[in-house]
């Protein structure tokens, strides 16, 4: 059933894109079929293969086959996804260096506990913290100073 929902979703999004394609701005000199032509062709082809696949699922009685999706949002995976999402959202506001160090430390300590069923010793904790701060700073400086790349500066100016 999961796969049919996925396919239906594809068809619906495709349908919406098909309908929207008639509203595109068109140049009066355009003799190429217009900006909407290609998306419309692709939507039609997509819907055809989606329907064939749905028929195939029903005929082969694969209806109850499991569909991988929800497990992404369960347990440790959910924790990772949420951490990463928060990191990406906060990055432009908090600044690159600060958010990266925070993300690294939090995720590393969390994963470490899972990987070895135990937290780090105090000594390890200090080591890991210092190393990661140094490495993140080095990456930051490498990108901003050497590569002339703008990484977001946040509240602290870094």
């Amino acid at each position: 059933m999961g796969e049919i929902i996925f396919l239906a979703l594809l068809a619906i999004v495709g349908g919406a894109m098909f309908a929207t394609s008639y509203g595109f701005r068109v140049s009066i000199l355009d003799k190429s079929g217009g900006p909407g032509m290609f998306p419309r062709i692709i939507v039609v082809l997509l819907v055809v293969v989606v329907i064939v696949r749905i028929v195939q699922i029903i005929r082969r009685r694969e209806l109850n086959n499991s569909f991988a999706f929800l497990e992404m949002f369960q347990g440790k995976r959910l924790v990772y996804m949420v951490f990463t999402l928060v990191y990406m959202v906060l990055l432009p506001f908090v600044g690159y260096l600060l958010s990266t160090v925070a993300y690294l430390l939090v995720t590393i300590f969390y994963f470490y506990r899972t990987e070895f069923d135990d937290g780090m010793t105090r000594r390890q904790t200090v080591m890991v913290t210092v190393t990661n701060i140094v490495l993140a700073t080095a990456v930051y400086l490498f990108f901003t100073r050497w590569m002339n790349i703008l990484l977001p500066e946040g509240i602290l100016g870094v």
Binding site: S21, P35, F38, I42, F67, K76, M88, Y103, I149
Partner: protein, 496 residues
């Protein structure tokens, strides 16, 4: 003539600059978001101060280094730095996860060398002839070749063809987002955001589809550790002779394909390696083992993507038509040296023209030597604790995504493509058509519309008999044949 060329090429300064270029390029190729165009552009100010040959040496070293550097991150981390190394993840990564990282990297390096050398030979002997091909290709031929490439990759995935087409059309549809090509004024599906006008960036999509799902699904296996197979510490690592001998055919096919595709502007290493991989799988005696970490997989795609470099240089040097983005910048760099690649360069200054080609050869060889000597160090990445590795990989992906455009906007859809990649991969929908759709989507659309513009309609374009119309016919017929075969097989299965 040859003496002059050698005098031009062989010098300590040139070789040192090639080596520096190769080493730096390797890092750029391995870090997602940093790529060959950025590396070459950053080196531009340095080349101002150099003589012509040293400048070319540095740039060629960077170019070759970047193209090969993608092998490392694709194999060890499942992060293809560019589209060209996407296919490398299919077998390189599983092999590394079985503790055979050294083997995977040495195979990749060797195949790269073969691809590079082959395209060099073509460059030396056939440049004038092959460059004619680039001139003979118009919009209709590009449309046909790109469409056929897309169809081939789907049809070759035997047993999953239907799902492959679904993934393909998904990719093509997502690729239409942004300002429409050809007219340049219609903003498609941008929801009023100017940042969406350039569409989804290919590199961001690749990082999202490959790197993120891999981390997400590995989190359940945090406790499983990769045990590297014991390898004797040596100065350098080569694949076993037997393995090379078995795969000579695979590498040659990949090299021919890569050179051919490299000549056609806009197709590039991504298309070459994916098609070469699919082709190797189809003609293999044991296609089911592809994707589990077998050597043919790496040989086929790495020979193809490196062969595109020579292919891309052919039209640039002979015609002044760059074969990819990097060669476009290389042309700019040469122009700064007062050289304009094109018909005049090969006619009036043949020594220089040949010298450039030989520098490319030296860069290829240096690249190979550099890689097989550093394998033992870089392979250690697989031994890192996963609790350190995953957060850092994520940070590098995020940093890379920002640095592609100096813009944080792309992070917004990075995660969405991670989810799409996970859903496709885990439910047995092939990823390669999806990625190839992103690589070639614009080529297909632009050239379809240009053909309609030039010849009046699709049918009129089709009626111009030639290689284009043959390819289009094939692109239509092949799926039909595949369906008929499939139905027939199902019938016999039911009957039995």
């Amino acid at each position: 003539m040859l003496v002059d060329v050698l005098q031009n090429v062989v010098s300590l300064q040139n070789f040192l600059l090639i080596l520096i270029g190769v080493a730096v390029g390797n890092v750029f190729g391995a870090i997602p978001g940093l790529n060959a165009p950025i590396a070459v552009a950053l080196a531009l100010p340095i080349t101002f101060t150099l003589e012509t040959m040293p400048a070319i040496s540095l740039l060629m070293g960077l170019y070759m280094g970047c193209v090969s550097g993608g092998l490392v991150s694709a194999t060890l981390l499942r992060i293809p730095g560019t589209a060209a190394s996407v296919a490398t993840t299919f077998d390189g990564y599983p092999m590394a996860q079985q503790g055979r990282a050294t083997e995977a990297l040495s195979i990749g390096s060797f195949a790269s060398l073969v691809g590079g050398l082959f395209s060099f030979l073509c460059l030396v002997t056939l440049a004038p002839v092959l460059s004619k091909m680039a001139v003979g290709f118009g919009p209709w031929e590009y449309f046909a070749t790109a469409s056929l490439a897309l169809v081939l990759v789907c049809v070759m995935l035997r047993g999953r063809t239907l799902k492959a087409f679904i993934a393909l059309f998904m990719g093509l549809l997502l690729r239409t987002v942004g300002i429409s090509p050809v007219d340049g004024i219609a903003a498609r599906y941008t929801f009023g955001s100017y940042n969406m006008e350039s569409g989804f960036n290919l590199i961001v999509v690749i990082i999202g589809v490959f790197a993120l799902p891999e981390i997400v699904s590995s989190i359940a296996k945090l406790k499983e550790h990769v045990k590297p197979l014991p390898v004797k510490p040596r100065l350098f690592y080569l694949p076993a002779w037997g393995s090379i001998r078995r795969n000579i055919g695979t590498m040659l096919r990949g090299s021919v394909l890569g050179t051919f595709i490299g000549i056609l502007p806009g197709m590039g290493g991504g298309a070459a390696s994916l098609i070469s991989y699919a082709q190797a799988k189809r003609s293999s005696k044991h296609p089911e083992r592809f994707g589990t970490g077998i050597e043919e997989g790496i040989y086929s795609c790495e020979s193809a993507n490196n062969a595109t470099t020579g292919g891309a240089l052919i039209p640039m040097l002979a015609l002044g038509v760059p074969g990819d983005t990097v060669t476009a910048i290389l042309m700019g760099a040469l122009a700064l040296q007062g050289l304009t690649p094109g018909p005049l360069l090969s006619l009036k200054n043949e020594t220089l023209f040949r010298s450039i080609i030989y520098v490319a050869l030296v860069a290829n060889i240096f690249m190979f030597v550099y890689q097989i000597m550093t394998i033992r160090y870089v392979a250690k990445v697989t031994e890192m604790k996963k609790s350190y590795l995953f957060p850092w990989v994520t940070v590098f992906c995020v940093t890379g995504v920002i640095s592609i455009k100096n813009n944080v906007f792309d992070l917004i859809y990075l995660m969405a493509f991670g989810i799409i990649g996970y859903v496709l991969d885990k439910n047995d929908y092939p990823i390669s058509p999806f990625i190839l759709a992103f690589v070639l989507g614009r080529v297909v659309e632009e050239n379809l519309r240009r053909s309609v513009m030039n010849y009046g309609s699709f049918l009129e374009s089709f009626s111009r008999f030639g290689i284009g119309s043959i390819f289009v016919t094939l692109a239509v017929v092949l799926p039909i044949v595949s369906i008929v075969n499939h139905v027939r097989r199902e019938r016999t299965k039911d009957a039995a």
